[in-house]
């Protein structure tokens, strides 16, 4: 019973809204069920929530899990002992008309024993804890560095040039962190505004992204797949909508991904709807959103100036928007449900190819994307109301309602679909 079933194919189809990867019964659970007792133990049975903390999928998370499972067990046992002792006392010493007992004031020997035992237990726990803390803090054998920046309410990833990975110029993306499997990835986290916290439960614990500081977090995934995560430090209005995913690809797939991200920009063919979309984009969007290589009609490079428009100083880089499959802080899917499930629940062997296929017109979750372009603050709470900009020198916190016409939105969607 103690083996992993993570590669087992789907048996049941879940109802349409539920889009999570089917997750396995872990060995941790088995250990815990026996020890901790029904309620907590059963917690890792069944098809778990996306961010289950008891399903490590990489060595860092596993280190934590191996440490915590016995501790849950110890805690459970102590709890049961206390419960049993109190219950026994309730039952045994209930007032049944017995005389008032002797007024004993305690037994120091018993007292000291019962103080020393917990102290010893904790001393043991302490030793293991101590070791794991320092093991997790190791950074000297890092293989890939990715800078992660939190901003109200999305994450930006910046892959500094690292020739051994084929990254010759920095790659900037958002929402989904793409990384190679079996690789010690070091995140260097910071923030542009308030404190956020980066957390991919299957890969490691949290680390706060604090403005003005750089904190490191080690991630490593054993198998290709999508691992859900969420910002876990309260960061204002849309904290609940600040999600992210880590996408682990095989090393070859990762190289493909890198190459694609660095490919030159391809302007849509003249006369297409997408081409019209490009010019709407140049008019409306480029003041905040960068698309690398995009040129103005006069041939000059279009350089976004998000810092002039957005309080925290940046907006997602949209160069390869359609290679990710969620947007706006992973709040919305870029894929329709069916396509999404196909990618997210793919076998690890097939996953890479499916992910790299990106989003095409047939699979595009056009409703959410259109709603976003129509009126972003309505679908995601943001401080983007033009009437309330006095405190921020006229800058937005989030993406404002741009008052686009439906036809402009048509054009933009067509254009965005070309950004792959």
């Amino acid at each position: 019973m103690n083996h992993r079933r993570s590669t087992e194919p789907h048996v049941t189809r879940r109802f349409s809204l539920s889009r999570m990867r089917r997750t396995p019964l872990s060995r941790a659970m088995v250990r815990a069920t026996t020890a901790v007792g029904a309620v907590v133990g059963l917690g890792s049975c069944a098809t778990n929530a996306a961010q289950d903390t008891w399903q490590p999928k990489g060595p860092n998370a596993k280190m934590i899990d191996d440490l915590q499972q016995p501790i849950f067990a110890v805690a459970g046992i102590i709890g049961i002992i206390v419960f049993a002792a109190v219950s026994y006392a309730i039952w045994r010493f209930k007032d049944r008309g017995q005389p008032i007992p002797e007024q004993t004031h305690g037994k120091p020997a018993l007292e000291i024993t019962l103080t020393v035992i917990p102290a010893l237990i904790l001393a043991v726990v302490g030793v293991f804890t101590f070791r794991v803390i320092f093991d997790l803090a190791k950074t000297d054998d890092t293989e890939l560095v990715i800078n992660v920046t939190g901003q109200q309410w999305w994450w930006e990833y910046d892959y500094p040039a690292q020739n051994e990975w084929g990254i010759t110029q920095p790659i900037i993306t958002s929402g989904q962190l793409v990384m190679p499997v079996g690789t010690k990835v070091l995140l260097r986290e910071t923030s542009r505004d308030v404190i956020h916290s980066y957390w991919i439960p299957a890969l490691n614990g949290k680390r706060d992204a604090v403005p003005g500081r750089i904190h490191t977090l080690r991630l490593e995934a054993d198998e290709p797949g999508i691992y859900a995560g969420q910002c876990t430090e309260f960061c204002g209005l849309s904290h609940a909508n600040m999600r992210m995913e880590a996408v682990a690809l095989s090393k070859e797939d990762f190289a493909t991904w890198v190459a694609n991200q660095q490919a030159a920009y391809q302007s849509p063919a003249e006369g297409t709807l997408a081409k019209e979309g490009e010019s709407v984009f140049l008019n409306q969007c480029v003041r905040c959103h960068q698309v690398d290589g995009l040129k103005r009609p006069d041939g000059s490079l279009a350089i976004a100036a998000p810092d002039e428009n957005v309080w925290s100083g940046a907006a997602p880089n949209l160069t390869n928007l359609m290679t990710r499959n969620t947007f706006a802080g992973a709040m919305f899917d870029l894929l329709r449900d069916a396509c999404r499930d196909d990618v997210w629940n793919a076998e690890s062997a097939e996953f890479g190819a499916k992910y790299l296929a990106g989003v095409d017109e047939a699979c595009l979750n056009v409703n959410d994307l259109r709603a976003w372009l129509r009126n972003a603050p309505e679908v995601k709470p943001m401080y983007a109301n033009p009437a309330l900009l006095a405190d921020t020198n006229g800058k937005y916190r989030g993406m404002p309602n741009l008052g686009l016409s439906e036809s402009d939105i048509d054009k933009l969607v067509a254009y965005l679909l070309t950004l792959k």
């Binding site: 803090a137 950074t139 500081r213 750089i214 904190h215 490191t216």
Partner: protein
């Protein structure tokens, strides 16, 4: 110290003797206070001199020691803590040491901060 309290302490508590023989009960003589003040003034002069004279590596520890000495002189003599009921010392030093402890530890964590 006031007459009342002295009598009272003696009457009901009986442990006001730790003042040392040379001091009359809780207080000191005016002369004594002036002497303390002179010492304080001298230390202050020495402190200020560090601004002009280079003390080398001794600079920081010397300054801190002088600061602490002055601090405890005022507390012990001007504030009578040395002669007064021990309870006062407990209350005050509890706060003082707690403050030093937590704040030094907190400032310390800013330095343990490893990238």
């Amino acid at each position: 110290m006031t007459m009342h309290t002295t009598e009272h302490t003696a009457a009901s508590h009986g442990d006001s003797a730790h003042g040392g023989a040379e001091h009359a009960e809780h207080g000191m003589s005016t002369r004594g206070y002036i002497n303390i003040a002179l010492i304080l003034a001298a230390i202050t002069a020495l402190e200020v001199s560090t601004y002009y004279v280079d003390f080398g590596p001794l600079f920081l520890p010397a300054l801190l020691i002088m600061m602490v000495v002055k601090f405890f002189m005022v507390v012990s003599y001007f504030m009578h803590l040395k002669f007064d009921n021990k309870l006062f010392s407990w209350m005050f030093y509890a706060g003082l040491f707690l403050a030093v402890g937590v704040y030094v530890a907190a400032l310390g964590t800013f330095h343990f901060f490893l990238r």
